[in-house]
Amino acid sequence: MENSKLGQEMKPVDVKKIKEMLNLKKGKMKRYLSHCAHCSLCAESCFLYMAHHKDPQYMPAYKAIHSLGTLYKKKGKVDRKLLTKMKGIVWRNCVLCGRCYCPIGIHIPSMITFARSILRSQEVYPQPDEVSAESWL
């Protein structure tokens, strides 16, 4: 198992595939990302934000901007280290409960879901035997 995990980590990121996926939902996601007024009003609707003593990194907008937003900003040119960082954001920091509220009407769960799909296409997802100080499994 350790070897296969190592193999995954060594595997180069398929930028072309990420770009293809990003382009699939570009019209919707780019609009969502650009219309986010960065008002932070979604914060209190997230139970994880409230449970973590109002730590800003659990805010729904923060999670969407620092996962899907980064992917669009970098046009898919990301390395595995960054993808692994995003893994924590979209799987550990968000449980996709769908309770996040946006005054403008941006559907944040669909952005996190899309970021998860892109990460999964690069074989970046929580492993069942993952052991870390921040393990959520």
Binding site: K25, G27, K28, R31, S34, H35, C36, A37, H38, C39, S40, L41, A43, E44, K54, P56, Q57, M59, A61, Y62, I65, G98, Y101, C102, P103, I104, G105, I106, H107, S110
Partner: protein, 219 residues
Amino acid sequence: MYDFIQGQLVSIAFVIFILGLIFQIFKFFKLTKKKEWSYPPGEVKREKKTAGQWVAFCLASLNGTLWKTDPLLTVVTLVFHVFLILVPIFLLGHNILLDQSWGLSLWSLPESITDILTLVFLICVAFFLGRRLFLSRVRAITTVYDYLILLIVAAPFLTGYFAYHQWFNYDTVMTLHILAGEVMLITIPFTKLGHMLFFFLYRFLIGNEYSFARGERVW
């Protein structure tokens, strides 16, 4: 240069603003499609309420909104957005210009009132700026772009306030005021300010838990 800003650029800005909005609406309808199914109509009949019950119901409903979590921001943001639209439309100076060029004008507010409303608007801008600077949760997602957008929105009101009170060089301030208004109009359809249009599209047309209407479209 001054002639261009005060003449042709005004028309160009309005054309870009209106065509930009039409383009965005067109794109929105192209990207979304009508849902093949919709929620069944509610079977529970609404009870008739007396006026008192209705007011109590509305007040109780407010507890489920942002009014409960952040009442100050709710008031400030409401005032900010209402004044942003109302003040320029019902400003006496703007209506005189409209009358001179097109021969039609809207009802105008007295200048002393619009002066106070502009000041209140600028205080709201200062509140938003303060939030961006000092609240950690807002700072966590703030970029330089956010400050620029706030400046684009505040600039026409700030220069307009200066021009009304004839502070600094009147002609320069007036030219800057017109330029600031044009920049705002041009940027609305293509930037974060697009939420002016998309707020209605997202909250009324897209099927969502928080839709104001039935929301029969999906992406």
